[in-house]
């Protein structure tokens, strides 16, 4: 279903925003409080456009809030990468570098989607993600090529986050017709340009792509990590406590 595809992209943005917003008032510098809130606002904005569209495609009368607040964990289609705990600032930056670069490749390609609505959303999102990639890149350089402590934290963060990047490029969850009709982008085609960008940043930051043979997966099918339930419990509690209310 086309709505499932759109929903997965929406959920990536929504859950990424939820995690990034947790940094608010906790960042290492005020400038970074502003920047992380800004990025969260961008991905939340993308999620809202996509959720509304998914609701329309589904045709069951669900709006962005019904989809964000009244679905259970098993119905969320985001990749596991975005739901992982923020960890220290190094973990957040590695997550952002991997995710923003993926989104940038995805939206660049999706601008040519045969679905005009998706193409329009992608055109808006691609300029935002360009800024996110640049922000993550600059911090990767400062932390990778700064003090030994920061370098070591970045190495640890890469080891922790990298396995979850494989899921970003899985293809199986997308219906073949959507790919054939040029509605969806085949994620497998994004891996090479993604890796080339990320690798270049890591090399410049004196960091290396970690060795890994673990590729956890499941998010696109509604199978998440254990932290997802807590994230949703917090995000949804108030909305669920007042069924049918307007906010």
């Amino acid at each position: 279903m086309r709505s499932d595809y759109v929903l997965a992209l929406a959920d990536d943005g929504l859950i990424a925003a939820q995690r990034l917003a947790e940094w608010t008032s906790r960042a290492p510098e005020l400038e970074e409080d502003v920047a992380l809130a800004n990025i969260a606002l961008d991905t939340l904005g993308q999620a809202r456009l996509l959720l509304s569209y998914a609701g329309e495609l589904e045709g069951a009368g669900r709006d962005e809030d019904d989809l964000a607040y009244l679905r259970d964990e098993q119905d969320f289609r985001n990749c596991q990468l975005v739901e992982l705990d923020n960890g220290d600032f190094a973990v957040t930056i590695v997550k952002l570098l991997c995710f923003a670069t993926y989104q940038h490749e995805l939206y660049s390609a999706l601008r040519r989607s045969t679905d005009e609505r998706l193409a329009a959303i992608a055109a808006k999102a691609v300029t935002e993600t360009e800024y996110h990639v640049d922000h993550a890149r600059l911090w990767t350089l400062r932390l990778g090529d700064g003090t030994p402590e920061a370098h070591q934290r970045m190495t640890a963060a890469l080891g922790r986050i990298w396995p979850y990047t494989h899921e970003l490029f899985e293809t199986g969850w997308i219906e073949p017709e959507l790919l054939a009709e040029g509605v969806a982008v085949d994620p497998a085609t994004l891996r090479e340009p993604w890796l080339s960008t990320v690798d270049k940043v890591l090399v410049e930051a004196t960091l290396a792509v970690p060795d890994d043979d673990w590729a956890p997966t499941g998010g696109r099918h509604g199978v998440h990590t254990e932290v997802m339930g807590y994230l949703l419990a917090e995000m949804q509690y108030l909305h669920r406590a007042h069924p049918g209310a307007t906010w």
Binding site: E32, V34, T147, E234, L238, H242
Partner: protein, 346 residues
């Protein structure tokens, strides 16, 4: 929302005056060549003529110190103020409200940045001011020591706390120190937008379910007196007033501003359909003002001296963010130093 457009037009007028003053200044530079008594005379003349004192102008040491204290305290309030609202970011009940709240908390960090930059023009560093905040040598607004217990508190903060802040801050758009006046013009425009959003949030709750309406009323009940106390002690007990008035840093007394706030808010409460928790509240025809009961200034003093409900948590939170971020700032500095060396070598 009654009363709000008047405040915004005052901000616009202050901005126009500032531009006009800047144009007049281009003619000559009176301070550059003067010395001693002439400097003091020039300072008095500029302040007397409602012109702006700029960073490179001579100024009395007490003027400089007083401004550093006031601007820093103002900046600290923006930064600590991110916490009570940030507390509801992850739980906002709709995506539209979540986006609004996120943008607002982001604005507050931005306001903190403008204000620290304005304070730095007076010869102090942000790091120094942070240190004073964390060690308790400089204060922040008492209001942020109250907890946000329900979603409606986010609306009450927008409506009442930001409302009180702009009533307080609009006159500062005309204060005698140029960098502060310019920062306040930008800040007041954004704050009045936040106040409108807070009002809108409460308006929606007040017309929602019984539970939502009760939530809104409870929040207004809890935030009303702390907001009134934001204007500081009554005039008779205020320590900084006389000199600040003479130097045109402060333009109205605490009690005058408090009255202005009550007059504006009482009308808005009627539109909201929520009660302000003051049985004595009523319009006084002859004076054209609303009568109200003064806040408990004993409580204000307890909160300012560190014993409010959240003083300890707020500072602890800021200290943890600062400490946890130390390795990040160190690495950024080390990287910048390496880059400089590389450039020099190239």
């Amino acid at each position: 929302m009654p009363g709000a457009s008047g405040l915004l037009s005052e901000v616009a007028a202050a901005e126009a005056e500032l531009r006009a003053a800047a144009d007049r200044d281009r003619g000559g530079d009176g301070a550059g060549v003067a010395a001693g008594d002439e400097l003091a005379a020039y300072f008095d003349e500029v302040v007397g003529a409602d012109q702006k004192i700029e960073p490179r102008d001579w100024m009395p040491e007490a003027y400089r110190k007083g401004l550093v204290r006031q601007i820093a305290q103002h900046a600290h309030s923006e930064i600590i103020g991110m916490q009570p609202e940030g507390n509801w970011l992850s739980r906002a009940p709709s995506l539209a409200r979540k986006a609004i709240l996120l943008a607002k908390v982001q604005d507050e960090a931005g306001h903190g940045l403008y204000l620290y930059a304005a304070a730095e023009t007076l010869g102090v560093s942000r790091a120094e001011l942070f240190d004073k905040l964390l060690s308790g040598r400089q204060k922040y607004s008492s209001i942020f020591n109250y907890p946000t217990l329900t979603w409606a508190d986010v609306g009450a903060i927008g409506w009442l706390v930001d409302g009180a802040a702009i009533v307080n801050q609009v006159p500062l758009c005309r204060c005698s120190y140029g960098p502060y006046a310019r920062a306040m013009i930008r800040i007041c425009k954004e704050e009045s937008f936040h106040q409108r959003q807070g009002f809108d949030l409460l308006y929606t709750l007040a017309r929602g379910t019984d539970e939502q309406r009760a939530m809104a009323q409870d929040a207004v009940d809890r935030w009303w007196y702390p907001s009134l106390a934001m204007f500081g002690p009554p005039d008779a007990e205020s320590t900084h007033s006389t000199q600040s008035m003479a130097w045109k840093i402060k333009r109205f007394s605490n009690d005058e501003l408090r009255q202005k706030f009550v007059d504006m808010t009482a009308q808005q409460a009627e539109v909201l359909g929520l009660n302000l928790p003051d049985e004595a509240l009523g319009y006084d025809q002859p004076s054209g003002h609303w009568r109200y009961t003064q806040p408990d200034f004993g409580e204000l003093m307890r909160v300012i001296s560190g014993d409010g409900p959240c003083n300890r948590q707020r500072i602890e939170h800021r200290r943890r963010a600062h400490d946890d971020g130390a390795w990040v700032r160190d690495s950024a500095a080390a990287y910048a130093a390496k880059q400089r060396t590389r450039k020099a070598a190239a």
